[in-house]
Symmetry: C2
Subunit: 217 residues, 2 copies
DNA sequence: TCAATAAATGTACTCAGTACAAAATTATAT
DNA sequence: ATATAATTTTGTACTGAGTACATTTATTGA
């Protein structure tokens, strides 16, 4: 049985900070799911979490950041997949394999179930959240482009790297949305998973063909 | 010499409305280019255009709409290219040809010159404008997906249509950005044009490969 | 216990966008 | 022409996110 760290341990500060952050996030998420993102004000969140309004913005620069708080994991997955890949497998193929692996291990929001369904529905119900989702996609695209270029020792601005990243992110996004739509309509999680992987694979075929003659495929 | 239409013509109303709209748009654009989108308030625009603040929002639902006011033309080009295509040329190829044609006829922002450069720079300087650009891209993607599905008589939700649209829009976006970046760095408009078309063609190869076995290619 | 540091909070502000009503303008029918 | 209807313009007052800055409160290390 693990004891809680002694109260006088030098980082009670960090622990308290993390605790209030998590409280705010949890309270906010509950309200967002219950009533829709745009129908919840930051004042309400602060009140419900029993903190000052400024404390909310102290922990989350944007209201949307209380909702999307796992995108860092996605970034790491993408970086790792490209950095730690077997050099004999082309970068584009490495990302295809990553998609398959993430589905296998039921990564967050890649399990097609009621759980992630409410997440998706909440996003679909808010222009603000959709805008933030598009922005995150853009950040991931830049990250992938950079990682691809680094992989093969090219310049960060290499147009081919950006094209490959653009095509891959497009595949992932379409696969994600279409699979969730399919689950929403049929409630068949196997069917959704199959569609997701089929679209990922078609996209990878496309990206590979587009990258013929480059080191990316 | 053309005379102005008689003042008592029944649609002076529409003409006046259009006139104030154009005044607002012109004044706003000048301010945006001069000082950056985010450094200009709607109040300033209203004052500079000598209209009430509400009039601005009467004509433009969002501040960004004063800047992006030509996206309807793009929509029409895309629709027409797919509707009026020779049935022997596959939809994906029809869109590739459209890109080449638009560059040939120096469509707005597909001429790589100082003119469009300031446009791009203004967008790059504003998170708000970048967000709106991403949203417009999303709308175009939905439009292309629908037009593609219609083309071949499939359902509007056909996942293949969405994948094709996603891949194509990704190519167009990357081509657009990389070509403008190249012009910005080299001031060589021929080089920018060549890069734009090369990326469009690579993207089309990718989309065609991804769509193998479907009616879209 | 005291001084330094960092977190939480309060106050007051800016700005985009909305709701609603009133005023001004233009069109239409008699 | 003139009354009336329709539309555009405008003003007022509001909401809500986000920021600047100062202050208080809690934690840390000496």
């Amino acid at each position: 049985m693990t004891m809680p760290p002694a109260a006088n341990q030098p980082d009670r500060r960090s622990r308290k900070r993390l605790a209030t952050r998590r409280t705010i996030s949890a309270v906010a998420d509950r309200l967002f799911f219950e009533r829709g993102f745009d129908n919840v004000t930051v004042d309400e969140i602060a009140a419900a979490a029993d903190v000052g309004r400024m404390t909310v913005f102290n922990h989350f620069a944007r209201k949307e950041d209380m909702f999307f708080d796992r995108d860092e994991e996605g970034r790491e997955s993408l970086r790792d997949a490209l950095r730690q890949r077997d050099p004999s497998v082309p970068p584009v193929e490495a990302l295809r394999l990553l998609a398959h692996q993430l589905v296998r291990e039921q990564a967050p929001y890649l399990e097609f179930s009621a759980r992630s369904e409410s997440f998706i529905e909440t996003v679909k119900g808010s222009e603000t959240l959709k805008a933030r989702a598009r922005a995150i996609r853009g950040e991931l695209e830049t990250l992938v482009a950079g990682a691809l270029a680094e992989c093969v020792g090219r310049d960060l601005n290499d147009p081919d790297a950006h094209l490959a990243a653009g095509l891959l992110l497009a595949s992932w996004t379409v696969a994600f949305i279409q699979a969730h739509r399919t689950f929403h309509e049929t409630r068949d999680s196997d069917k959704a998973t199959a569609l997701f992987l089929a679209l990922i694979d078609k996209g990878a075929i496309g990206a590979t063909a587009a990258m013929a003659g480059t080191p990316y495929a």
